[in-house]
């Protein structure tokens, strides 16, 4: 998981990419014959200093290795604070990444 966060003019712009195949039910049915092999990220959360800043439920129709961009109000946070992002997929596997606000 890559996380980039930039604070400028009171706005934190975040760009993050998760490394995940994001396979759909139809894709896996073609490939392995079993729809249940489909696996994709189902939930993503982001925190700074313990405060939730991102809460996202997702489905199989995000692209492979999905990229997310979002923005935050910058007043509460300062440069150097760490943004932690973590995801969980359909099979229960988790992944995380962190980035400093620059």
């Amino acid at each position: 998981m890559k996380v980039k966060a930039k604070l400028k003019n009171g706005v934190i712009k975040v760009k993050t990419m998760a490394k995940h195949g994001m396979t759909t039910f139809n894709m896996m049915e073609k490939k392995t014959g079993n729809r249940e092999d489909a696996n994709f990220i189902t939930h993503i959360t982001g925190t700074i200093n313990g405060e939730t800043v991102l809460d996202l439920s997702t489905s199989q129709f995000l692209s492979k290795n999905p990229i997310f961009k979002f923005q935050l109000k910058g007043e509460t946070f300062k440069k150097g604070d760490k943004l932690l992002i973590s995801w969980v997929d359909r099979k229960g596997k988790t992944g995380k990444g962190k980035g400093k606000i620059k």
Binding site: F25, D55, F61, F70
Partner: protein
């Protein structure tokens, strides 16, 4: 069955009570599973908000008119309205829901994400206002090469 429901509700309420508001994260896949298995946009919106009355204003949506690769279509959406969630749906894939953002007090509601579409179709963004109304934006685009089967 009733007892089980009672337990679930009670435990859920307890769990919610214990978690401080700042770290409360709502996973719509667990709380509203019907949204994610709905096959049409209307069904998904009905399951999500209990209503399909959309007001088509206040939300902006940017996506290409023609997407050369259906495997990664960039979609940007934003709104200045006071909202509690914003979600993306499309009608080209077997199921309609793509993602739901729950906003928080730090959110500036301006998002970009890349999605997959199997064929040409319409993207619908629904922003759930704190006033209980549903604001929406729609865009129909052509997909040259479908991205869901590859």
């Amino acid at each position: 069955m009733e007892r089980r429901n009672f337990l679930n509700v009670t435990l859920g309420a307890l769990a919610l009570a214990v978690i401080p508001a700042s770290v409360k994260a709502e996973d719509y896949r667990t709380t509203k599973p019907a949204v994610w298995s709905a096959h049409t946009v209307d069904d998904a919106i009905q399951a999500m908000y209990g209503s399909t009355t959309l007001i088509e204003k206040g939300v902006s949506l940017r996506a290409p008119d023609v997407a050369s690769n259906g495997g990664a279509i960039p979609v940007d959406f934003s709104t200045d309205l006071d909202i509690k969630s914003i979600a993306l749906y499309q009608d080209a894939n077997p199921e309609a829901a793509v993602c739901v953002y729950t906003t928080n007090k730090y959110s500036i509601n301006n998002y970009s994400v890349k999605i997959k579409m199997g064929k040409s179709g319409t993207i619908t963004i629904v922003a759930e206002g704190n006033d209980g109304k549903l604001y929406a934006a729609k865009k129909t685009l052509e997909v040259a090469l479908g991205g869901c089967e590859g």
